[in-house]
């Protein structure tokens, strides 16, 4: 297993956001995490990235316990996140934003290669290479956030709502790109409101409800699960 989250609990002050969740992501998978607003999806991502300390439980990455590892060192190990709300550096150009994604790396020619790859995945970004991140449209920022997360050459890519705020056409496109990234060898853990898309693209998925995993299965299984259909797919 590339990632093993085991019995993790996490609190914001007195509010307990995660009540002992466990999930795994195998090398080469796309795993989706779906759930209602406030279920704890972003919190799970933060815990994996190391932005918030765990109260209990362990997170193992590549076989090693990283529960107490500093966030910056987790990036070095190969965990990379495109955060909810994108977290673009507004005053930096598109290129500088991508450069920030490669912050932990030194090899210039490899970085340039990956920069090229990001521009190939998102041609829109190449056209806007010098534009300040803050002036990009929402969709462009989303592309930048995903492209930037790839710049660290992660083993595990965490995507927190990559389709948020995108037009239907673009949603299709961003999921196509996620699949492409995955086929190029990056493992993906994906948080989504757009359960329909997420479940149909993911190998496996987990359903999170108020800080607990309540269901898991293959994407197809959950897509046809009546309870999931009812709660998250909004179909009659």
């Amino acid at each position: 297993m590339l990632l093993e989250v085991e019995n993790v609990t996490l609190s914001y002050g007195r509010i307990q956001a995660l009540h002992g969740i466990s999930l795994t992501v195998a090398q080469g998978e796309v795993v989706a995490l779906i759930g209602a607003n406030g279920a704890g999806k972003s919190t799970t991502m933060r815990a994996i990235s190391g932005l918030r300390p765990l109260s209990q439980g362990t997170i193992r990455f590549d076989g090693e316990d990283i529960s107490k590892l500093r966030a910056d060192l987790r990036v070095v190990r190969g965990v990379s996140q495109s955060p909810e709300g994108r977290g673009i550096f507004p005053g930096m150009s598109v290129r500088d934003n991508l450069e920030m994604g490669a912050y932990t790396r030194r090899n210039r020619s490899e970085i340039d290669e990956d920069m090229d790859r990001a521009f190939t995945l998102f041609p829109r970004l190449r056209e806007r290479e010098k534009q300040a991140g803050g002036t990009l449209s929402g969709g462009e920022q989303q592309m930048l956030a995903v492209g930037r997360a790839l710049m660290s050459r992660p083993k595990l890519l965490l995507l927190d709502e990559p389709s948020m705020g995108l037009a239907p056409m673009l949603i299709q496109q961003i999921f196509d790109i996620i699949v492409e990234i995955n086929q190029q060898g990056t493992t993906v853990l994906l948080v989504e409101q757009n359960a329909q898309q997420a479940l149909s693209r993911a190998h496996r998925a987990y359903v999170l409800e108020t800080g607990r995993i309540v269901k898991e299965g293959t994407g197809a299984e959950l897509l046809h699960d009546p309870a999931v259909k009812d709660a998250y797919l909004g179909v009659a």
Partner: protein, 370 residues
């Protein structure tokens, strides 16, 4: 694009854009000329017609220039903390005080340490600066997890603690202060360069220190440290996700800011020869912060201009009377008016940082209802 955006764009493209496009030698010449002019500032009064308008009346001009030089230093240092790393520090005077007190403790005959050390000014400098950096880390460490307003309050408290400490501990002598702090060393034609009557050499010394600080900060800003600060300032959580060790770079910002503030204090003590607890009032921090913001936060040219102005404006008002009151008495009112005018006309500061403009717009978006 709104009108104000256009204006900002044009102004930041203007002179600086031109400068950036010039070949290296042109830039070199421009910088050299600016440096020569800066060193000649004490003689500005001799410029026909314009000179008398520029120089101060109620305080001798070289002294006013020296005052400007340490205010500029403070503005440069605070700019590292506030402008580069984005950490709102309202207690910056604390570091100025630590630098000055460090010097006084090691060199003044009034100090309890004097019998043991009896140091000259120059020997005290590195120790005093090390002390300020430690003070920076002491303030930085517990406040690292605080943001925005919370950090501001704690830093405010920090400066007050230092002032109260200086007021009430016997070692630091409160109001009585420390006298006979030695001047910087050096002789010229058998007479000491740094005396009590002529402030010109002090100004030049200040200028040299400022230039060194500018070079140092510029190098840092262009390095990985600067990139880390920028990322932290623009989005701390995102910076952390990119692999920036935010705690380390925030501490660096505090320590470097403190170091520069300490330099100001060391120079100040060396020129004045006397300091006491009244010297380091809170007003001072606020004034320097106003200077940084007024000049254009996140941008050294802006900090320099702002720092110079906060010292120059009140000094220039001295000795000008209106009826039977000295305009100096109204300095805070006039000063407030100037700041308001500048902030209305140029909300990003006199020399705005293009980047800052983007960040502020981004933040506006955050608070606007979705």
């Amino acid at each position: 694009m709104s009108v104000s955006e256009k204006a900002t764009f044009r102004s930041s493209g203007g002179v600086r854009g031109w400068f950036g496009r010039q070949p290296v030698w042109v830039r070199g010449v421009v910088v050299a000329v600016a440096l020569v002019l800066a060193f000649l500032l004490p003689y500005a009064g001799d410029i026909p017609l314009l000179g008398p308008q520029i120089v101060t009346e109620g305080i001798d001009w070289p002294s006013a220039l020296f005052n400007m030089s340490y205010y500029v230093l403070l503005a440069l240092g605070l700019n590292v903390v506030v402008g580069y790393a984005g950490l709102l520090d309202l207690g910056y005077v604390g570091f100025f005080a630590v630098g000055a007190y460090g010097t006084a403790l090691l060199t003044s005959p009034d100090s309890v340490l004097y019998a043991d050390t009896g140091w000259k000014w120059l020997m005290a400098v590195p120790v005093a600066l090390a002390l300020t950096m430690v003070a920076g880390l002491i303030l930085g460490w517990p406040t690292l997890r605080l943001r925005g307003d919370y950090l501001a309050i704690v830093t405010l408290g920090f400066a007050e603690i230092i002032r109260i400490f200086a007021t009430s501990t016997t070692t630091l002598r409160g109001d009585r202060g420390f006298a006979s702090i030695p001047h910087p060393p050096g002789e010229w034609g058998g007479k000491p360069i740094f005396g009590v009557t002529d402030a010109v050499p002090y100004f030049w010394l200040g200028l040299v220190v400022i230039i060194l600080v500018i070079l140092g900060v510029r190098n840092l800003d262009r390095s990985r440290v600067g990139r880390s600060w920028l990322a932290i300032r623009e989005d701390e959580e995102a910076a952390e996700i990119m692999g920036v060790r935010t705690i380390k770079y925030k501490l660096w910002a505090f320590a470097i800011g403190a170091f520069i503030g300490g330099l100001g204090g060391v120079l100040f003590a060396g020129e004045q020869g006397f300091i006491n607890s009244q010297t380091f009032v809170l007003q001072f921090s606020i004034l320097v912060l106003a200077g940084v913001v007024m000049g254009g936060s996140g941008n050294m040219a802006g900090a320099i201009l702002g720092g110079a102005l906060i010292s120059y404006i009140p000094d220039r008002l001295r000795g000008i009377s209106l009826g039977d009151t000295d305009l100096y008495e109204y300095r805070f009112a006039l000063f407030g008016a100037v700041i308001i005018i500048i902030m209305v006309l140029r909300p990003q500061g006199l020399i705005p940082s293009r980047r800052r403009a983007m960040e502020l717009k981004d933040r506006e978006k955050e608070v606007a209802p979705q």
